[in-house]
């Protein structure tokens, strides 16, 4: 292009200066002075002013496009992270937590059943450990080694083989009919309760925190782009007004096109981001909040179940710190209380029938579980240990059956909320799709149009 020949050498000089700071310092003030003198000289004539205005307008439009493209790419990549990375990682860390808690429940349940563990229990334990190990590998591949999540993953990876080793020793001794098996089981449970589960809980908290941060990042208003858009529109309107005053011509086609392009980008930006914000917001409030509550509910149900089993394994051998009550029975009661509260919260958060139905079902099964548990405790307290055992680990009418119902209802609810989250978050991400490219293309178009429009006026002086 031919406009503003002075601009060329000026902008080209900048990169040359950087690598050679010592090069000819005497020449620089001279060339600067020459440049500004020439610019002042140009600005005294109308064609010169037009040239400068054209260059500034083109730069503004391009800058607007660039800022929009950059800012929205950042928002879009945060939205991408929400859908593709942090939410799956948060869900995975919840699964790690759940698998570990379930494995411990199965180990205690298998021990209760006698020297020969039931096949289903053995199978479930194996699946839980496999799932935890697989998800840990996946999580570590997606985690930066400087984060707290990495530390938790390392702890989990270190302690999990120790835990499984202890369980295998417990099984081997148990099969030989030695009480040493029970001692190993208690030691394994201690490792799970004191080291693995807290690390998994911290990992889940860290991943959920990252999800919150990514979602907030994606939802942050693109203030720079909006401001740049307003400035560009203002400048374009001002220039057209100046034109009109001086030439009495209403329209300059080039400037009109540039204004249209800038308006489209601004509108697209505002609407697209508002939609994305709204969708991501509903993904977080309707999906993630429910998911968080349901995940916690599921983990509490597992802990309560493990404690219920351990009450029978320990037979009162482990008491609370003041010695007044059974530790496991106390932990069971606490867990069930938390579970009830979380189910109530989940029911409140559920926004449709298919979300609240499984939660209501889970709450019903929890009530049944607590009733059966009370009966089983009474049976045990009357001295009928075998009867209590049947009421707790039996196939029919047992608390184990109630627990399974709670677990499967919660699984359904979790799947539903996960679906809601993913749909909303993907909609949100979709609202930003094409915006960075579109903004860039329209900005180039606008800049070209602005220059052409100015050149048109300029040509009148030649």
């Amino acid at each position: 292009m031919t406009q503003l020949p002075q601009g060329g050498p000026q902008t080209q000089r900048a990169p040359e200066q950087a690598p050679a700071p010592t090069g000819l310092p005497a020449q620089r003030p001279g060339s600067w002075a020459v440049q500004s003198r020439r610019l002042r000289a140009v600005a005294t004539t109308e064609p010169g002013r037009l040239q400068i205005i054209g260059a500034v307008l083109a730069l503004l439009v391009v800058a607007f496009g660039a800022v929009t493209a950059l800012e929205i790419s950042h928002r879009a990549s945060a939205a991408d992270d929400v859908v593709g990375r942090s939410q799956p990682l948060s869900a995975d860390s919840a699964s790690i937590y759940r698998s570990l808690a379930d494995a411990d429940t199965m180990a205690a349940g298998g021990f209760l059943a006698g020297a020969q563990e039931p096949k289903a229990v053995q199978e479930q334990y194996r699946k839980d450990i496999e799932e935890a190990a697989r998800l840990l590998v996946k999580a570590s591949a997606n985690t930066d080694s400087s984060t707290s999540s990495w530390r938790e993953i390392t702890t989990l990876n270190e302690v999990l083989p120790v835990y499984t080793g202890l369980i295998e020793r417990a099984r081997a001794n148990n099969r030989q009919g030695l009480p040493l098996g029970g001692a190993y089981l208690r030691y394994a449970n201690q490792k799970m309760t004191n080291e693995l589960l807290p690390a998994a809980e911290r990992l889940y908290a860290a991943e959920t925190g990252r999800l919150d941060r990514d979602a907030a990042d994606a939802r942050r208003w693109p203030f720079l782009s909006l401001a740049a858009g307003l400035v560009v529109l203002g400048a374009l309107v001002w220039m057209q007004r100046r034109n009109y005053r001086r030439t009495n011509r209403v329209f300059n086609h080039g400037l009109l096109v540039a204004t249209a392009a800038a308006s489209v980008v601004l509108l697209w930006l505002a609407v697209g981001h508002t939609v994305a914000r709204t969708e991501l917001r509903s993904a977080m409030t309707q999906g993630q909040e429910s998911l968080d509550v349901l995940n916690n509910a599921r983990i509490n149900s597992l802990k309560a179940r493990a404690n219920e089993n351990l009450t029978l394994v320990a037979r009162g051998a482990v008491l609370t710190a003041d010695g007044s009550a059974d530790q496991y029975e106390t932990d069971y009661t606490t867990g069930m209380k938390a579970l009830r509260a979380q189910l109530k919260e989940a029911e409140r958060l559920a926004d449709d029938e298919s979300g609240s139905a499984p939660v209501a079902k889970a709450a019903k099964s929890v009530t049944e579980w607590q009733e059966r548990h009370r009966k089983a405790r009474a049976t045990d307290d009357q001295g009928d240990y075998e009867g209590a055992l049947q009421q707790i680990i039996g196939a029919e009418d047992s608390t184990g059956q109630s627990f399974q119902q709670v677990d499967s209802a919660l699984r359904t609810a979790l799947a539903h909320e996960q679906g809601e989250f993913t749909a909303a978050a993907e909609d949100g991400r979709g609202a930003l799709r094409g915006l960075p490219t579109g903004a860039a293309a329209l900005a180039v178009l606008g800049a070209v149009a602005a220059i052409l429009g100015i050149n048109r006026r300029l040509s009148e002086y030649r």
Partner: protein
């Protein structure tokens, strides 16, 4: 986990002396220990005031001193008279017994039958048979080592039959039956370990013991340079490595290489050795003498007298006595050479 040490066993060091001389020496040692350790505690009427051990042929001429526990193994004379304690059990129809489920051959849950078994369990069933006419009319409650006395005081159990050593300190809080087994402390270590027993070979070694046990007290008194205390013991951060809730947990730590040796009653140590052929009791024999008794709530005299009566029947019959049958079934393999139960000693009042 509860770690309140509401009591502490007072170990009375005694040699392997037998007969009259041994009993006298034992009594004297006991008086001295008790005088030194218990007098400040028993200002308000020691329960054994005026206790005049009268005997079963083995009782010594004990230098009787008021307000001191002189002969803890002496219990109430046997009787089958009903009282409030027995009436309560009969009304319930079940005997609630505090037992262990981790002591191999004493009280443990057989994973094949799902039943509790062992020498202590046999004795509980004999008690239930005598009181209620049915050896199965029992509610077993597993009680942690350091909760045995609390369980009686809180009425969670009627009796404790759980390898519980009779001693003066505990007699302030509970009542004991006559002795039903004789044991003592001994070191357990891997067979190829350089540890030779409760001696200087323990220097620098990590020794495991149960929380609130005689073994821990012994180590506190003389550890031969062994490491036996957990960091942060008794707090939430207690790692439960060197002092553990149950003596069997020590074998777990030993097998995992977290400790070098275990100190426990040889009766229980033999149960650990029976579960792991790579470990053995070290030294020539136990370095203390202790007796196990059935514990009941303090003041439940009718129940204690009834237990003593059951024990009389249990011991009777020479080689074929119920005691010897149970011994041969559970203990002879690990603790060979015992030919008769310890003789009972009684108080006159």
């Amino acid at each position: 986990m509860a770690r309140a040490r509401t009591w502490a066993r007072r170990r009375t060091p005694r040699g392997g002396l037998r007969g009259w001389g041994g009993v006298t020496a034992m009594a004297v040692a006991c008086v001295i220990t008790a005088a030194l350790t218990l007098l400040p505690l028993s200002q308000h009427g020691g329960r054994t005031a005026g206790a005049d051990p009268v005997g079963s042929g083995t009782t010594a001429t004990v230098p009787v001193r008021a307000e001191v526990c002189t002969d803890p193994e002496a219990s109430l004379p046997p009787s089958s008279a009903d009282g409030p304690g027995i009436a309560k059990i009969k009304a319930r129809g079940k005997l609630v017994a505090g037992v262990d489920q981790n002591s191999y051959r004493w009280g443990y849950r057989n994973p094949y039958s799902g039943e509790l078994e062992g020498f202590d369990i046999d004795l509980v069933r004999a008690l239930a048979k005598d009181i209620l006419g049915d050896p199965d009319a029992v509610i077993f409650r597993a009680i942690p080592t350091n909760q045995r006395i609390a369980a009686l005081e809180r009425d969670r159990v009627d009796v404790i039959v759980r390898t519980m050593t009779i001693n003066c300190k505990r007699l302030e809080q509970v009542s004991f039956s006559t002795a039903y087994f004789r044991t003592g402390q001994q070191i357990l270590a891997p067979k190829d370990s350089p540890i030779t027993g409760y001696d200087d070979s323990l220097k620098g070694k990590r020794v495991c013991s149960g929380e609130g046990t005689t073994a821990f007290e012994a180590l506190e008194k003389e550890s031969y340079g062994a490491i036996f205390r957990d960091e942060f013991d008794g707090t939430e951060r207690d790692p439960d490595r060197l002092t553990v809730p149950n003596q069997l947990d020590c074998l777990v730590r030993l097998q995992l290489g977290e400790v070098d040796a275990v100190l426990t009653d040889n009766a229980l140590g033999a149960g650990q050795a029976a579960q792991d052929p790579a470990v053995a009791l070290k030294g020539s024999g136990p370095f203390t003498t202790e007796f196990y008794g059935v514990a009941a709530k303090k003041g439940a005299d009718d129940l204690v007298a009834r237990v003593n009566k059951v024990l009389v029947d249990y011991r009777a019959g020479g080689k074929d006595s119920a005691w010897m049958v149970s011994y041969r079934k559970w203990l002879a393999a690990g603790l060979p050479g015992i030919t008769a139960p310890p003789a009972p000693k009684y108080r006159s009042n």
